[in-house]
């Protein structure tokens, strides 16, 4: 029975002690501890969120980098292609220009040749006519002895010349 009969002294001291402990611990222990735990938890939470965000950013940046790289590669290819085309075009242009020039030159040369030829022929004709006049002169001097014959020949020659 003694065991289950609360003693008044112990009740009194227990109430006093426990309430004091409660007040002291609440003010000087639990509240600071709990608030610093909460603070730490918040820091950890924030850090985790930041890390997650950073990772996402990293992935995004990586993707962006890759697309940038791909774009650059494409651009490079395009530029190469363009330059090749340009080169080909320039060469082609140069060729056609050269061909034309050559043709022109040839044509001019041909014209010149024709002209020269014509001139030469005319000259030749002139020379021949002179020669033939001289020949005819000589012949006529020989044939003048024979007047009739001479006349016949002259007329024949003249008709032939015309």
């Amino acid at each position: 029975m003694q065991l289950v009969t609360p003693a008044i002294g112990l009740l009194f001291w227990m109430i006093v002690t426990f309430l004091l402990v409660l007040v002291i611990l609440k003010k000087y222990a639990w509240n600071p501890i709990l608030s610093s735990i909460r603070e730490r938890e918040k820091t950890i939470q924030d850090s985790l969120l930041l890390a997650e965000k950073t990772q996402a950013d990293m992935i995004r940046f990586q993707g962006e980098n890759e697309s940038l790289l791909a774009e650059a590669r494409k651009e490079r290819d395009l530029m190469l292609k363009e330059s090749r085309e340009m080169r080909d075009k320039i060469i082609g242009d140069a060729k056609t220009l050269a061909d034309e020039e050559a043709k022109k030159l040839i044509n001019r040369a041909q014209d010149e040749i024709e002209k020269q030829k014509a001139a030469a022929i005319a000259e030749l004709k002139r020379e021949i006519s002179v020669f033939s006049v001289q020949i005819a002169e000589k012949l006529m001097q020989q044939h003048l002895e024979n007047n009739d014959a001479q006349k016949a020949i002259i007329e024949k020659q003249l008709s032939q010349l015309n």
Binding site: I8, T17, A29, P32, I33, L34
Partner: protein, 368 residues
């Protein structure tokens, strides 16, 4: 003394351990049944009887250990006993407050200022004619032990708080590493499920209750001064804690709680049965809290002391048998002590858990 004998015999008789365990089992009924009869029913050895004028009484020894007293018994028996005397504080209406040391009583052999220590270790008037009530507010063994434990708790907790302030944002160090998980456990696994967003409001109260019970339980397991007192196993301590829970629950209770008691959702004719049961439940919940703590801790102390008594009971049956019994007793006591370590935590946890649940039930808002 018994500790040294026990340690010595433990090493030298290890070879016979199995035989000893078997023989010790034979002694088990000794405490399970009536140890007194076993001891006193052997008056055959006359010489022995004379040598031991005072027979070993396990029940008396255990009761002395688990109940409160005005001095802190360390070792020895009777006149050789070594105790720490504690201050006695009495209040009597006609005399006011009276202070003196409990050594004045000389273990109940002498009266002092008209008071005497009776068989139940209570301070009463020497003359049985005096019926004036005596309020004993002494610093008893339990009060002193409680103060030691509380002092340790204060140092630990306040030290922890200041170290948290010093290195804020960093991980805890040393012993705080051990306490912080407990705090988090109480907050996240015990209180939060019951109280939800109101957790923070009751955290200081519940943490104080948990750590008060836990540290007093642990101090109770230390066999020497300043531990060993059966503080949390004392009905007064458990009663105050349970009363605080009772007051918190009923003073903080919301409408829903009272509606649940006086206007439950049952047919009207059942009110005759339900309402008395509900009202009984209001008182019964803290009452069971008190009883559970008191019974568990006291039982733990009784078991461990009972096992130690086995040595002396065996010795009384036949001199020397106690030596044989001791290794088994020590082994089993170690086992029981480990179990009590678990119980120390478990009871603190259960008390806090149920308190949180009761408070949570009282604070429940109307939602259905």
């Amino acid at each position: 003394m018994p500790y040294f004998t026990v340690l010595f015999t433990m090493t030298s008789f290890r070879k016979h351990l199995w035989g000893l365990i078997f023989s010790a089992f034979l002694f088990l009924p000794a405490i399970a049944g009536q140890p007194d009869t076993h001891v006193s029913n052997r008056p055959s050895n006359h010489q022995n009887e004379e040598k031991k004028s005072k027979k070993f009484d396990a029940g008396k020894m255990i009761m002395e250990h688990i109940s409160d007293s005005h001095d802190w018994h360390l070792w020895g028996e009777g006149h050789d006993a070594v105790s720490i005397y504690l201050p006695v504080i009495l209040y009597v209406k006609s005399k006011g407050f009276i202070f003196f040391m409990s050594s004045k009583f000389e273990h109940g052999h002498t009266a002092y200022m008209g008071f005497i220590l009776n068989q139940e270790n209570k301070i009463v008037w020497e003359s049985s004619d005096n019926h004036e009530p005596v309020y004993d507010l002494s610093i008893t063994k339990n009060v002193a032990a409680m103060l030691f434990a509380v002092f340790a708790l204060l140092i630990l907790a306040i030290g922890m708080a200041s170290s948290y302030k010093k290195n804020a944002g960093k991980a805890p160090k040393g012993i705080h590493n051990l306490i912080e998980p407990l705090i988090l456990f109480i907050r996240d696994d015990v209180t939060k499920p019951a109280l939800g967003h109101k957790t923070d409001r009751f955290m200081p109260f519940l943490l104080s209750i948990f750590f008060f019970i836990f540290i007093n339980n642990l101090f109770g397991l230390i066999p020497i001064f300043p531990g060993g007192a059966n503080v949390t196993g004392n009905i007064a301590i458990a009663m105050v804690l349970a009363t605080l829970i009772f007051l918190t629950v009923n003073l903080k209770a919301k409408k829903q709680y009272w509606k649940h008691i006086f206007l439950p959702d049952v047919p009207i004719w059942m009110y005759i049965i339900i309402i008395p049961i509900e009202i009984l439940g209001v008182v019964l919940k803290p009452f069971v809290l008190m009883l559970r703590l008191f019974a568990n801790i006291t039982a733990g102390h009784i078991i461990i002391l009972g096992f130690f008594s086995l040595i002396f009971i065996a010795e009384a049956i036949r001199p020397g048998v106690g030596y044989f019994a001791s290794p088994f007793v020590v082994a089993f006591t170690i086992f029981m002590s480990l179990l009590e370590l678990l119980v120390a935590f478990l009871q603190a946890y259960v008390f806090t858990l149920l308190s949180a649940i009761y408070i949570g039930m009282a604070l429940e808002e109307e939602h259905h």
